[in-house]
């Protein structure tokens, strides 16, 4: 394999892996902060136990997100030096702002929160977890501002052989990030909700000690899930409409729509012949894709063949078609997981209102498995975002093959690829082992008040 393919594979593996931890950090930080706020307001020990129980899982997950994030920041220079030279004037800025404005707060105040339980006034300690939550989500915003430039370049001019920034405000208010950020934000909420719901359900089924912690957690998570999933779907719809305008090829690939249609039908299930660019077998709903794109059952959605011809005219000869099958199935898995979560969240809300959650063992048994749904949706969502942009690294400006480091040999990239993959594999095992261990462990929420124990921290 050439160093280009290896560098791409390494980016895919390390990014997917990093994004495995990030959404839970985003959503759970807010949820833990809300729990502690409730403890602060009511003084109810149950809320404190909830904060500590979920806080511990949050910390284990957070550490993995942080350390894998360092690779992300370094990797652009290591494997994609020509990309870094070409867009550094624009792309470096949000990364630096992220570190200065958000990441410093996150890491400093996480330490303050973890070590400050008995050393800070309650109000200051509560403020520290809120700072962690706000800064984490602010971090994500700056990273997505950077990513949005790759999807939809704005606020720049081509000068001195590179893209130079001309309008920072345009970069920050990129129409792409305005739809992408809410989608990621609510994905985080959804991920945290199903994480908490799944683990709480497991405890409710086993009638663990101090069941009230998990009863309340499940109720909170249900509301959180409904808000998260409904919003993520609504924003996702807006995002798709924006995609039709800004990156029509991504939409066409996600739909395996070979030729433009008006009104455009939506594929439910297609087996395609990718090199031949035709359907082998397809079930389609007429007009639905037009509805997705324009909120009405008519309107042209451009197909792959027409866009290819259009791009050849604009950018010169070349292959402008992203990998269709991967995009098509990523999109379907993401949307499928999303609607499954919507159904589960609404059913959960129904049982919670009826106060029957604990008497619905079949539903409760299902929920721990549902933890995988948001992860599936997060990963396939990213795959679609990045693969649908191919062959571009910066849409319309730079192709992936022109972005790779020319002076790094394939052997070198292979070495780091194997190294990171092995390391990440081992760490994943350790991480899941610890998460499972502490998710099952209800001793930390046992009924004795913490104050009676001389060294509560020994449980850490």
């Amino acid at each position: 394999m050439a160093n280009l393919d290896l560098a791409r594979l390494q980016f895919a593996i390390t990014t997917i892996y990093h994004f495995f931890f990030v959404p839970l950090t985003l959503g759970l930080s807010i949820l833990v902060a809300l729990m502690q706020t409730q403890y602060y307001r009511t003084g109810d020990e149950t809320y404190k136990r909830m904060t500590k129980f979920w806080g511990k899982l949050f910390l284990i997950n957070f550490a993995m997100g942080v350390v894998t994030g360092i690779v992300q920041e370094f990797q652009f220079g290591m494997n994609w030096s020509e990309y870094s030279r070409f867009v550094g004037d624009i792309f470096g800025a949000p990364l630096a702002v992220e570190a200065l404005m958000a990441f410093f707060i996150e890491s400093t105040f996480l330490g303050v929160w973890l070590f400050g339980w008995d050393r800070l006034p309650k109000r200051a300690h509560l403020a520290s977890i809120w700072l962690v939550a706000i800064a984490s989500n602010l971090s994500a915003l700056w990273i997505l501002i950077a990513n949005s430039f790759m999807q939809e370049p704005v606020g720049f001019v081509l000068r001195n052989g590179r893209a130079e920034m001309t309008d920072f405000l345009a970069l920050v208010t990129n129409p792409h990030v305005l739809v992408q950020y809410p989608h990621v934000f609510f994905s985080g909420i959804t991920t945290a909700a199903f994480f908490v719901l799944g683990i709480s359900a497991w405890h409710l089924l086993r009638k663990s000690s101090n069941i009230e912690v998990f009863r309340r957690s499940a109720n909170w998570a249900t509301v959180y899930a409904v808000v998260g999933v409904v919003m993520v779907i609504m924003v996702g719809h807006t995002q798709a409409q924006h995609m039709v305008q800004a990156q029509p090829m991504k939409m066409a690939a996600a739909e395996a729509l070979w030729d433009s249609e008006d009104p455009a039908s939506m594929s439910l299930f297609t087996v395609g012949d990718e090199p031949g660019r035709r359907d082998v077998f397809s079930i389609r709903i007429p007009g639905l894709l037009s509805f997705l794109a324009y909120n009405r059952f008519e309107g042209e959605v451009k197909g792959i063949n027409d866009l290819q011809a259009e791009y050849e005219e604009t950018y010169g000869p070349g292959d402008y078609v992203p990998p269709i099958a991967l995009n098509y199935w990523s999109f379907r898995l993401m949307v499928g997981a999303g609607f499954l979560m919507l159904f589960l969240a609404l059913y959960g809300l129904y049982t919670a209102i009826q106060k029957k959650t604990e008497n619905a063992p079949r539903f409760l048994r299902l929920l721990p498995f549902a933890i995988f749904l948001p992860y599936l949706a997060n990963i396939t969502g990213w795959l679609l975002t990045e693969l649908g942009r191919q062959p571009w690294i910066v849409f319309g400006l730079q192709r992936v093959e022109d972005a790779v480091s020319p002076n790094v040999s394939a052997e070198t990239v292979l070495l780091s690829l194997v190294g990171f993959t092995l390391l990440y594999g081992v760490l994943m095992i350790a991480d899941i082992y610890l998460l499972a261990k502490f998710a099952r462990d209800d001793s930390s929420v046992s009924a004795e008040p913490d104050e009676a124990q001389p060294a509560p921290a020994a449980s850490f």
Partner: protein, 336 residues
């Protein structure tokens, strides 16, 4: 002063902050297996840097981000050029960060022992590599006309750069021992004191040998001439005074002196580089400088505004967090 110079200074400041702060937590990590005789003592050692290490590491990430934003050519050249060294640093830093969070979350001695050695590796390897990296920057590397590094990984590992690596390693270890003597109590503080006083003389010798070698290997020191100026002389004075303060058992001053030694050493190297960022040992015309490697004027303006607002805020709340956790660590304070 133009904005390119301002950003050169800012990146130097970020590296000084990183070496000063992460310097002692690398040192603590290096000393962990040797100073902690049993599990509880090891936990005390780790918890001295518990609330801080993550915030300290962000100095490095910010320095990387600032380089990317202000001098993207430098970022691209160094990161692709020093590929394997950075890969090694990333792997060990990942293991280290995870180890802090994971090691005390399971009681099995094998589990804890493994992660303790990961903390050691994750502190010692970057501690060594930073010395190697800085000496290569000071001496110059094989940069071609297109700003690409054309040497190999092994070219970065000369006897001179390895000497520099050992010098930074021992300087960090000494810095960490002094920090431990400030942050622990009783027998542990005494042990840290003894370690620091044993490390000091070898540190002085190695660093001085490195300085002498630098006169032969780099033009930075040659340019300094017979009167090298405040920064290198200050670094030397600080280094020598550490021994005095240790003997007088004034550990606070010894720690300050050790920090001053690190900060002024980094400052010496950066002021010797200026206005160059990466020296080409193939052709001086191929050097990366703060002008040919920089972002556009507009980007530098925007970033200056951001930095001038946020760097003081960061300094303020990080200082506050050190104030909150200023107490010495005892066995009742263990979170990790």
């Amino acid at each position: 002063m133009d904005l390119n110079t301002l950003w050169f200074i800012l990146i130097a400041v970020l590296f000084i902050g990183y070496f000063f702060l992460e310097g002692f937590d690398y040192g603590v990590g290096i000393l962990l297996p040797f100073l902690g005789k049993n599990d509880e003592e090891r936990r005390i050692v780790i918890n001295t840097i518990g609330p801080f290490w993550d915030g300290n590491e962000v100095w490095l990430l910010t320095a990387g981000g600032a380089m990317f934003a202000a001098f993207p050519q430098m970022y691209a050249t160094i990161f692709s050029g020093f590929y394997l060294a950075l890969f090694l640093m990333l792997v060990t830093l990942i293991l280290r960060g995870v180890a802090f969070e994971f090691r005390s979350k399971d009681k099995r001695p094998g589990w804890r022992n493994t992660w303790d050695w990961m903390i050691f590796l994750g502190s010692a390897v970057p501690g060594l590599l930073w010395g190697v990296a800085l000496s290569n920057l000071a001496r110059g590397v094989a940069i071609d006309a297109n700003m690409h590094y054309v040497g190999t990984f092994w070219d970065l590992l000369s006897p001179y750069s390895l000497l520099s690596g050992v010098a930074s390693l021992i300087a960090f270890t000494l810095h960490g021992a002094l920090f431990l003597s400030l942050k622990t109590e009783g027998e542990m503080a005494e042990r840290a004191h003894r370690t620091a006083s044993r490390l000091w003389l070898p540190a002085v010798v190695i660093i001085l040998v490195f300085v002498v070698a630098s006169y032969g290997s780099t033009d930075i020191f040659q340019r300094l001439g017979v009167n090298p100026g405040i920064a290198p002389l200050g670094a030397l004075a600080a280094l020598l005074s550490i021994g005095y303060f240790i003997r007088e058992r004034r550990h606070g001053w010894a720690f300050v002196a050790s920090g001053a030694n690190l900060a002024l050493s980094v400052l010496t190297i950066f002021s010797g580089l200026y206005p160059r960022l990466v020296i080409s040992n193939l052709n001086p015309e191929w050097n990366l400088t703060i002008y040919n490697a920089s972002s556009s004027e507009y980007t530098l303006q925007v970033m200056s505004l951001v930095a001038l607002i946020f760097v003081p805020i960061v300094l303020a709340y990080q200082a506050w967090s050190y104030w909150v956790f200023r107490k010495r660590i005892s066995r009742s304070d263990l979170e990790y």
